[in-house]
């Protein structure tokens, strides 16, 4: 609210007295039609006008000579300087903008709405803003620039695009992605960003309810570039190369090798490893334990062991990864778009090629081809057809940090991948190395694991080919009413394979595992010596048909736009997978194995089947929807709109009658600046709008009966299928409903020096589905349930300012500022155990169960410091300082016993992009910020260290002697596990940090050559650019040097800084 007051103070101004009148008409260059809604402004006289439906305008001014600027959606702005008084009426011809739809037209996927008359909330970014970043995936570019959009790294380890905060608790949280007209089912990596003209995010109910149930998490509409009628051949070509650093492995909070070895030595002396060392099943030992054991057995001298151990102490496996695994990444992008049109034809075609080599030498290749044609067959009939073909190939590379495994998730900090000469070293893996060595020469395959070269023998590939065909027929029934039929066919074929060749450790280990001694004591193999190939294919076929009536009526006072339609959608995915043994890639041959009998493992003797990977599955989704949307504008000032939709689908187990979900919304808009009493001449454009929408959601997994799902393979014992319960019927479930209110003002000052919007939204969700922990005596530990009600509200401010505008220097700023706060209004869960609100390391933040607190809140156990005598962590139990960890973390303690910190989701976020243009140079600097939230950092867990061999750099700061408690909170090492003690420390308040930070997202510098200086070169523009992205954090609140967006788990890496260089030409 404060912002609005400041704005209105800034923008209030005085009235100029008018002496002259300038009038004229504005028409379009391509077809001569009069243009309505063109903004006519005179900066000098501070007056402005809009053209009417016949393209006419009247402007009053006091100056004898003025410069008039004409601007409007989809057209290049035009300057005209006139001496007054004028005799004749001004004739202004405006040129349509090429190949991009400007922000002032909003595409919902069903229709294009003039922003002027929109009642809903839309954020839109044009191609120019999008092209400031160089990535091969369009979605990666959005969070840095789109208002109200955020990537949530805070509530769960899986980063999630989020439009205006939370809408649901359970279920898929991905926004619905629309490519032109239809939902895009597929990998967003297949879309070439260079083919995109604009992206519109539908943020409120009025904007998104047209998409029904799938719009619950917001809708992102991607609009591709299109050709124009009557446009000469246009082309654009862009090429760029991006080089990225190696990732910063020092960010991994790895325990030092010397600390780790010291712990191993102590545990060895305490006999911790005896059961493994002495085991007849030969489990793997770490190199240090192995050396200690050899020395103990007298196989080597203890001096020799110490010498080797002291060498290992010098190793840091991060250096090994850095040296042998990670490389700088290189990405190349090329894209060519050609477009043109005649009076009744328009077309665009494009070719794109991307080739990325990642930090682990993994490769991604993409080829796009596109053709889109529109043909005006007659006055009444417009036909359009297009094809979009994409081929992508992925290939795996080396192993990243943590993926070279000794056993399970052990993290041994002193592993070595190569000797001094760079020759591959075998690392201990799977089974005891000495045992493996004892098998040498017995006829088994080499059982050593050489990570340095193993990646060359394990190749995962994924190839996909996607074809999208679309066609539409539009028939004008009479002026204003047309009917259209649109059809889109999408087919995606994906082949995935992982080939472990016979040199790979995986294949050798697997083959040896099923080897056996025959009666003559010779080694025989049950799994043939050779490669192992895992293959899977997935074919997705999507058909969309839509029939829609569009009605437009325009008169002086009335304007109606309405659509109504029906659509059907089918999507069928067929999956098929298999595994081949003894695979020979040259002859494409494989060998049979016995899947029917269990065989003993060569080392452990455990009986097991040879893995059969054969399986098939078909998934079919079908939707039918009916929808309508209408808007009526009176006097160009007052707009009312309404939208309704019903969906039905083949969700399994639902009766058809239960499948029709209603959605509706209504909106109002008032262009107050067009009122004759409107006083703010400094703010010639001001519109208020408001909307309200309702949706009811039945979760796909809420079904009317209990359903079961069959395993891919039948039981070996009976030959018949095996099934498990998939969903439980719950008669007590109620529909989830949500309501959203949006109130907004759109404004722009004269000459658009300041423009933007301020929006306030409020949402209320009732009976939200969530995963509820049940009394598991029922047999069900968690179940989809109506767990909570919530309300949320927030403000989205988008401000575009033109701070400096002169011939040489311009400085523009785009500021996105959003707030979001939510709270639990009802809570239905049967229990509020304290431990349920403390997320374990690496697990998602649970829903907080206290009315009035944020849906995702950070709670922690209260901390009473380390015990000065023992270094044990201390908490509180019934108000007393306590070390009864099982009780503190037990179920008698409720949420009220915890310390509450605040929201786990940023409550304030946004971005600021400054663009400075000086002569031909242009510099864009984008800064993102997230404020007002908390996160739990991870630290040392002794149970993980002792029994899981996972350390943490905090070990170095642990309490070691009385007095240490003054400067550390890291508990002492006890040489006995106590998982409750660890759970208490990792959930305690000393590990809660503020998440607030500001990030420099990207800097882009471009240089525009003036082609008019080069005679004979047929270029209309030539731009050179370089950019740097993921530069890093400028400011953070936490003192741990953690990047709050990348703080999950111990192995999380920050995204690498990338440097791009490229050019863009138009002709």
């Amino acid at each position: 609210m404060k912002n609005i007051i400041i704005l209105s103070m800034l923008l209030s101004g005085t009235c100029a007295s008018a002496q002259y009148i300038v009038s004229g008409t504005v028409t379009a260059e391509n077809d001569g039609t009069p243009l309505a809604g063109i903004l006519v402004t005179s900066a000098l006289s501070k007056t402005a006008a809009l053209t009417d439906s016949k393209g006419k305008f009247v402007l009053q001014t006091a100056e004898p000579r003025i410069r008039i600027v004409f601007s409007g959606m989809g057209y290049d702005p035009k300057d005209v300087t006139v001496d007054l008084p004028v005799k004749e009426i001004l004739q202004v011809v405006m040129t349509p903008k090429t190949a991009s739809i400007e922000g002032v037209t909003l595409s919902t996927g069903y229709q294009k709405i003039a922003k002027e008359r929109a009642t809903g909330s839309f954020s839109t970014v044009n191609g120019e803003l999008l092209s400031q970043q160089v990535t091969s995936n369009i979605m990666e570019r959005l969070p840095a620039i789109v208002n109200g959009l955020m990537v949530d790294h805070a509530s769960s380890p899986n980063a999630q695009l989020m439009v205006r905060g939370l809408s649901t608790i359970q279920g898929p949280k991905n926004p619905l992605i629309i490519l032109d007209d239809f939902p895009y089912e597929g990998n967003l990596n297949t879309i070439n960003p260079e083919m995109i003209a604009s992206v519109t995010v539908l943020k409120d109910a009025a904007a998104s309810s047209i998409w029904g149930a799938r719009a619950a998490n917001g809708v992102i509409v991607i609009t591709t570039k299109r050709g124009k009628f009557g446009q000469r051949l246009n082309g654009e070509f862009t090429a760029n190369t991006t080089v990225s650093d190696k990732p910063d492995l020092s960010y991994i909070r790895q325990m030092s090798s010397s600390d780790f070895i010291a712990v191993e030595q102590e545990l060895f002396s305490r006999g911790f490893y005896n059961s493994d060392i002495n085991s007849p099943s030969h489990p793997v030992l770490t190199p240090v334990v192995d050396l200690l054991n050899q020395a103990k057995k007298g196989l080597i001298t203890s001096e020799e062991a110490q010498l080797q151990i002291s060498r290992l102490q010098q190793n840091d496996v991060r250096d090994e990864y850095r040296k042998y695994m990670y490389t700088p990444g290189v990405k190349q992008q090329y894209a060519l778009n050609l477009s043109g049109g005649s009076s009744n034809m328009s077309w665009i075609s494009g070719v794109g090629y991307d080739h990325n080599t990642g930090n682990l030498s993994e490769e991604f290749e993409r080829m796009n081809f596109r053709l889109q044609n529109t043909w005006k067959a007659s006055d009444r009939i417009t036909l359009s057809a297009g094809a979009y073909y994409t081929k992508t190939n992925d290939r795996s590379g080396r192993n990243g940090y943590g993926n070279i495994k000794v056993n399970g998730n052990w993290q041994i900090p002193y592993l070595q991948f190569a000797d001094g000469q760079g020759n591959p070293l075998a690392i201990f893996s799977g089974y005891d190395q000495r045992y493996k060595e004892s098998l040498n020469g017995k006829g088994l395959m080499d059982w050593n694991y050489y990570p340095l070269t193993d990646w060359q023998h394990t190749l995962a590939k994924s190839n996909s080919a996607e074809l999208i065909l679309n066609t539409s027929l539009q028939y004008k029934i009479f002026t204003g009413l047309n009917a259209e039929v649109k059809y889109q066919y999408q087919k995606n074929d994906r082949d995935n394979s992982t080939f472990y060749d016979r040199e790979s450790y995986y294949a050798r280990n697997y083959i040896n595992g099923f080897a056996y001694y025959d009666t003559g004591n010779n080694i025989k193999f049950r799994v043939p010596k050779g490669g192992i190939l895992d293959k899977s294919t997935a074919t997705t076929t999507v058909n969309n048909v839509r029939g829609q009536l569009n009605y437009n009526y325009l008169s002086d006072r009335h304007e109606i736009t309405a659509i109504a339609g029906a659509e059907m959608r089918t999507a069928l995915t067929a999956n098929d997978q298999n595994r081949l043994y003894g695979y020979d890639p040259i002859h494409q041959s494989s060998l049979n194995v016995d899947y029917l009998n269990k065989y003993p493992h060569f080392v452990t003797g455990g009986m097991d089947y040879i893995l059969n990977r054969q399986g098939m599955q078909e998934i079919s989704t079908r939707f039918i929807s009916l929808y309508a949307n209408a808007a009526y504008t009176f006097n160009r000032k007052y707009t009312v709109s309404g939208s309704a939709r019903r969906d039905a689908s083949n969700l399994f187990g639902l009766k058809t009658n239960d499948q029709w979900n209603p959605f509706w919304s209504a909106g109002l808009a008032w262009k107050i600046s067009d009122e004759h009493f409107y006083p703010l001449h400094r703010l010639p454009d001001l519109k208020f709008r408001a909307s309200y929408g309702y949706s009811g959601n039945i979760d796909p997994s809420m079904v009317a009966v209990t359903t079961i799902i069959y395993d891919p393979s039948p039981s070996t014992y009976t030959g018949t299928g095996m099934a498990r319960i998939d969903q439980y019927y719950n008669p007590n479930l109620r529909w989830e409903t949500s309501r959203m209110v949006n109130i907004a003002a759109d404004f722009s000052s004269q000459n658009n020096r300041i423009s933007g919007s301020v929006e306030y939204f409020m949402k209320k969700g009732s009976n939200l589905f969530g995963s509820a922990p049940l009394d598991y005596t029922t047999g069900i530990k968690t179940m989809l349930w109506n767990v909570a009600g919530m309300k949320g509200h927030g403000i989205d401010v988008e401000l575009k300012t033109r701070n400096i505008v002169n011939r040489r220097l311009t400085w523009n700023t785009l500021l996105n500022f959003s707030t979001y706060r939510d709270e639990v209004t009802d809570y239905f869960l049967p229990n509020t155990f304290a431990s349920n609100y403390i997320n374990a390391t690496g697990a998602a933040v649970p829903i907080s169960g206290t009315v009035g607190l944020p849906v995702y809140s950070i709670f922690a156990y209260r901390w009473a410091g380390l015990d000065p005598q023992t270094g044990d962590p201390r908490g509180y139990l019934n108000g007393e300082i306590s070390k009864d960890y099982a009780a503190i973390t037990g179920s008698e303690k409720g949420i009220e016993d915890l310390e509450y910190f605040g929201s786990a989701l940023p409550t304030t976020y946004g971005s600021m992009i400054n663009t400075l243009a000086y002569r031909q140079f242009s510099l864009d600097i984008a800064v993102n910020y997230k404020l007002g939230y908390w996160f739990r950092r991870n630290s040392l867990n002794y149970t993980s260290l002792l029994s899981g061999r996972v350390g943490h750099s905090d070990f170095a700061d642990r309490w070691q002697k009385p007095g240490d408690e003054a400067f550390t909170n890291v508990p002492s090492l006890n040489y006995t596990t106590n998982s409750s003690r660890d759970a208490f420390y990792s959930g305690s308040e000393v590990l809660v940090e503020k998440g607030d930070h500001v990030r420099l997202q990207y800097v882009n510098l471009s240089y525009e050559l003036s082609p008019n200086k080069w005679v004979g070169i047929p270029l209309s523009s030539f731009r050179l650019y370089c950019s740097v992205s993921n530069i890093g954090i400028l400011w953070r609140e936490n003192k741990q040097h953690l990047d709050p967006d990348y703080s999950w788990g111990v192995n999380t890496l920050k995204p690498v800084t990338a440097y791009s260089l490229g050019f863009h030409i138009k002709f």
Binding site: N274, I277, G779, A886, G890
Partner: protein
């Protein structure tokens, strides 16, 4: 306008075809469990779950872990369980209570489906579900309840008897009498419904039902009935493995699904029962005669000479808790002894042991008195049914009958003691369940 009408008519026509359009199954692997096959498929998967309880075996006296292994155990609740703590012995991330009732829910769902969908010819599937449910409750009663005795079972706490899959029904503890009544009535009904054998032992047959009846009555101390049902079971199937035919050198010599197995089930994982950590007390190992093949088939020593168990009836490192004929032989033997038929008791025992000893080396055991016979049979029961999930129940009932067994463990200088008939023989129900349901905790 005409076109508008035409469009509307078209849309209506399309929508009337909707129902068929929307009836397409969304996933080819999904089904509503309306057929006999579907419900059989739900039961058949029970075998792969491996969720039978470990609490009894972790608490009993057949295994120990070294102090250093104890200090290295990942789950605090299990350490408490092993040292007979009165509370907080169930790990919140997964425990026996959860695993037991998860299985019971599947069986209840099947029984419900058979009625709800009125599936014809369902006797066999229903019988299987009843055996599974009763066996789960019987096993659970050994973990969370005190030993059954007819005198006070009506006053002692039993289990919450969930017989309907509806999760909205609150959990309420029954009496111990009601718990056993339910187990017995399920088993009796199942024995009537089931055929003498099935296409695979993963499906309980009539023999399985009778075997569990014998086990249940033995636990209850009703030796006449235990004898009766044990003999009925053996009358249908009395196959025993000859251990002379097994390869003692193999890592896991006992083949899964062998002739003795009546229902293969396996325990959940526990660090205390893990292959390398679970050690067998020397006294127990030494109690096997050198001519007793079990000494080499059940055990191997690690490099330090500690004794590890490899006689799993799963044929792998998985700890099996199967119902098998060897147990029924021992149950019948014990019941004969209890009902004062010592010769028959010893005969049953000898029939089993002759298959366990080296051919020609076994001389029949004899006993002069009932007590001698009982002592011998109980010793052999422990030696035969090692790691089979019955020891905890046996300790409980031996104490009930006055055996006066006291157990102690010493770890990190602390001595833990479990006196005879201690209330901690009924292991604590997970505290979160108690909190959520308001059910009373076991007495302490």
């Amino acid at each position: 306008m005409k076109n508008t009408i035409a469009f509307l008519i078209l849309s209506t026509a399309v929508l009337s075809g909707c129902n068929r359009f929307l009836e397409e199954k969304s996933n080819s692997n999904l089904a509503t469990p309306e057929t006999l096959e579907d419900n059989q498929a739900l039961l058949d998967r029970n075998f792969v779950l491996g969720l039978n309880t470990v609490s009894g075996e972790v608490s009993a006296d057949d295994v120990y872990v070294t102090e250093s292994d104890f200090n290295n155990m990942a789950v605090e609740a299990e350490k408490r369980l092993h040292t007979w703590q009165p509370d907080r012995v169930a790990a919140p991330e997964g425990n026996d209570w959860e695993n037991t009732f998860r299985r019971i829910n599947i069986f209840n769902t099947v029984i419900y489906n058979l009625d709800h969908y009125d599936i014809p010819g369902s006797d066999n599937v229903r019988g299987q579900a009843l055996v599974f449910r009763a066996s789960a409750y019987l096993e659970a009663a050994q973990v969370w309840c005190l030993a059954y005795s007819k005198a006070d079972a009506g006053a002692r706490k039993g289990l919450p008897l969930r017989l309907d899959p509806d999760m909205n029904i609150p959990s309420v503890r029954s009496t111990l009498q009601q718990t056993y009544d339910q187990i017995l009535s399920d088993l009796h009904l199942a024995a009537q419904l089931l055929p003498p054998s099935q296409i695979s032992v993963i499906r309980p047959s009539k023999v399985t039902a009778l075997g569990f009846l014998a086990r249940a009555y033995l636990y209850m101390g009703d030796y006449e009935k235990a004898l009766f049902y044990g003999n009925q079971a053996l009358a249908i199937h009395a196959g025993l493995l000859d251990y002379n035919a097994l390869n003692a050198g193999a890592s896991y010599p006992i083949t899964p699904m062998n002739t003795e197995v009546l229902l293969p089930t396996s325990m959940a994982y526990s660090g205390f029962l893990a292959t390398n950590q679970a050690k067998i007390p020397a006294a127990l190992y030494n109690s096997y005669d050198d001519n007793d093949l079990r000494k080499v088939i059940f055990f191997r020593k690690n490099a330090q000479g500690e004794v590890l168990f490899k006689g799993n009836y799963s044929g792998s490192s998985t700890r099996s808790s199967c119902m098998a004929t060897d147990e029924i032989f021992l149950t019948v033997a014990e019941s004969y002894a209890q009902t004062n038929d010592v010769p028959k008791a010893m005969s049953m025992l000898n029939q089993l042991l002759v298959k366990r000893w080296k051919t020609g080396k076994f001389t029949n055991y004899t006993a002069g008195t009932k007590d001698q016979a009982l002592q011998m049979i109980r010793n052999e029961r422990r030696k035969e049914l090692l790691f089979r999930g019955v020891r905890w129940a046996d300790l409980k009932r031996y104490n009930r009958e006055g055996a006066g067994l006291t157990h102690t463990k010493v770890l990190n200088g602390v001595t833990y003691t479990l006196p005879p008939n201690d209330l901690r023989y009924a292991i604590a129900i997970p505290e979160d369940v108690i909190q959520m349901t308001g059910m009373p905790q076991n007495d302490r």
